[in-house]
């Protein structure tokens, strides 16, 4: 808006001192290039273009390549550090795993040993109990034998006494004993 106003004002002013022809000429003249400016522009732009082309672009490319290389080497260093750290981590993890396995092994060994001890104790106790039982049975059998023998002998003696008294004559001791034994055996066979 302001531009328009200014222009309008300016045009009004202009009409007075300068003839219309003059105004048109000067306005149109602005659209035509001045020879010395055109030549200067061509030379100046050519200088800029050749500078950019021959110096700027190669320098830019080398700078970018150098930076690229620097970045690449840094990336490689970082990669190497990462690999090292990973191997260290793996080492530590392996060590920890080993330690854990070892601990488990120790606990299992201890548990196995305890089990063995327990089983041993139980077995020994059972065997002892068995032995005691067997000994008791043997003693019992022996006692029974002894009592049976004693009984047999007393029965024989009593029988002899009774027979002597009944028969009145005495048989010799040996033959008497045979007789009684035979009798008892017969009794035993019947019973």
């Amino acid at each position: 808006m302001y531009v328009l106003l200014t222009k309008a004002y300016y045009l009004l002013q202009e009409v007075e001192p300068i003839s219309e022809e003059g105004a048109e000429e000067s306005g149109a003249a602005l659209l035509l290039p001045a020879a010395e400016e055109l030549i200067a522009g061509i030379i100046a732009f050519s200088i800029v273009f050749f500078f950019v082309w021959k110096w700027g672009i190669p320098v830019l490319n080398t700078a970018l390549e150098a930076r690229q290389q620097a970045i690449n080497s840094q990336l490689e260093a970082a990669e190497a550090a990462k690999v090292e750290a990973e191997s260290l981590l793996a080492d530590y993890e392996r060590q920890v795993a080993n330690a854990k396995a070892e601990a488990t092994q120790i606990v299992e060994d201890a548990r196995g040993a305890a089990d063995e001890v327990k089983t041993g104790i139980v077995e020994r106790a059972e065997a002892e109990a068995e032995q005691i039982k067997e000994r008791a049975q043997d003693e019992l059998l022996a006692e029974r034998e002894r009592v049976a023998g004693e009984l047999r002998r007393q029965v024989a003696d009593l029988s002899l006494d009774v027979a002597e008294r009944v028969v009145g004559l005495s048989l010799d001791d040996e033959s008497q004993r045979e007789l009684v034994d035979r009798y008892i055996d017969e009794l035993g066979g019947v019973s």
Binding site: L30, L31, F45, V48
Partner: protein, 273 residues
């Protein structure tokens, strides 16, 4: 500076309400030679044109010479700008074969950027891109390059391809051909040149008139009365705002010119689009 002093001496705010030259050409035409080299007139504009080349080369030289692996701030900024032109404009618009045109596009962008930047540079305050010679030359250069690129890539089939995009009905071919012919071979270079030229002319006119009016009304505050002084200072503040706006225009116009050059080269290389 010279401009400001000249303008302020001639300006009479007692009679006028802004300081505007009688002829707009006074803001742009500096044809009086300062000196001559072998009969070639070195005018103020010519000096600024060569100064543009010197500044571009200086920027590139100080931005790139160190080749430091860890760049400083300035080097990073320059590399960012250059990388932007390469990746977003040369390769981004044209494609992988755009890297061939990267030196041209980079020169174009930096040259126009610096030439534009003189619009807001203290003590120079004059964009050489507001002189038709520069935009016209650069637009014609782009024109020659994109036509040469098309002819080299496709031979004379390029002309047919570019005049009749695929899928145009036969009945429309004459009409489309005429329209495309004018659009590509006349309007393109002309619009490219005039877009840059007109933006910088407008910016320079606004900044000159507003800032000089502000300055003169401030210097002659007793003579012109309170109301006119207040207006003058308002114009000056508006001029400052437009100054900031022009900084954006400077960057944008350099970018647009470069971008459109890349787009034109791209349409020559890949006509199917």
């Amino acid at each position: 500076m010279e401009q400001l002093i000249l303008a302020s001496e001639e300006c009479d705010l007692v009679e006028n309400s802004v300081c505007a030259p009688a002829d707009v050409a006074e803001l742009f035409e500096f044809r009086t030679p300062i000196f001559e080299i072998l009969g070639f007139p070195i005018t103020r504009t010519v000096v600024v044109i060569f100064l543009t080349a010197a500044v571009v080369i200086g920027l590139l030289f100080f931005g790139l010479r160190k080749k430091a692996v860890q760049p400083g701030k300035f080097q990073t900024a320059m590399e960012g700008l250059i990388g932007f032109i390469r990746d977003e404009v040369a390769v981004g618009i044209i494609g992988p074969d755009g890297i061939r045109y990267f030196p041209y596009l980079l020169s174009l962008f930096l040259f126009i950027l610096v030439a534009n930047a003189f619009e807001v540079m203290p003590f120079i305050n004059f964009p050489v891109t507001s002189r038709m010679a520069i935009p016209l030359f650069l637009a014609l250069l782009t024109y020659v390059i994109f036509i040469a690129a098309g002819l080299r890539r496709q031979g004379f089939r390029y002309i047919g391809d570019i005049l009749w995009p695929p899928g145009v009905p036969v009945a429309l071919k004459p009409l489309v051909g005429i329209i495309e012919f004018f659009s590509i071979f006349f309007v393109r270079p002309f619009s490219l040149a005039v877009r840059l030229f007109a933006n910088l002319v407008a910016g320079h006119v606004m900044l000159s008139i507003l800032l000089v009016t502000g300055l003169v009304s401030f210097l002659t505050i007793g003579e012109i009365g309170l109301i006119k002084s207040a207006f003058g200072i308002a114009w000056w503040l508006l001029g400052l705002a437009i100054y900031m706006f022009e900084v954006i225009v400077i960057l944008l116009q350099a970018y647009i010119f470069t971008l459109l050059s890349a787009v034109y080269i791209e349409t020559s290389l890949h006509p199917q689009h």
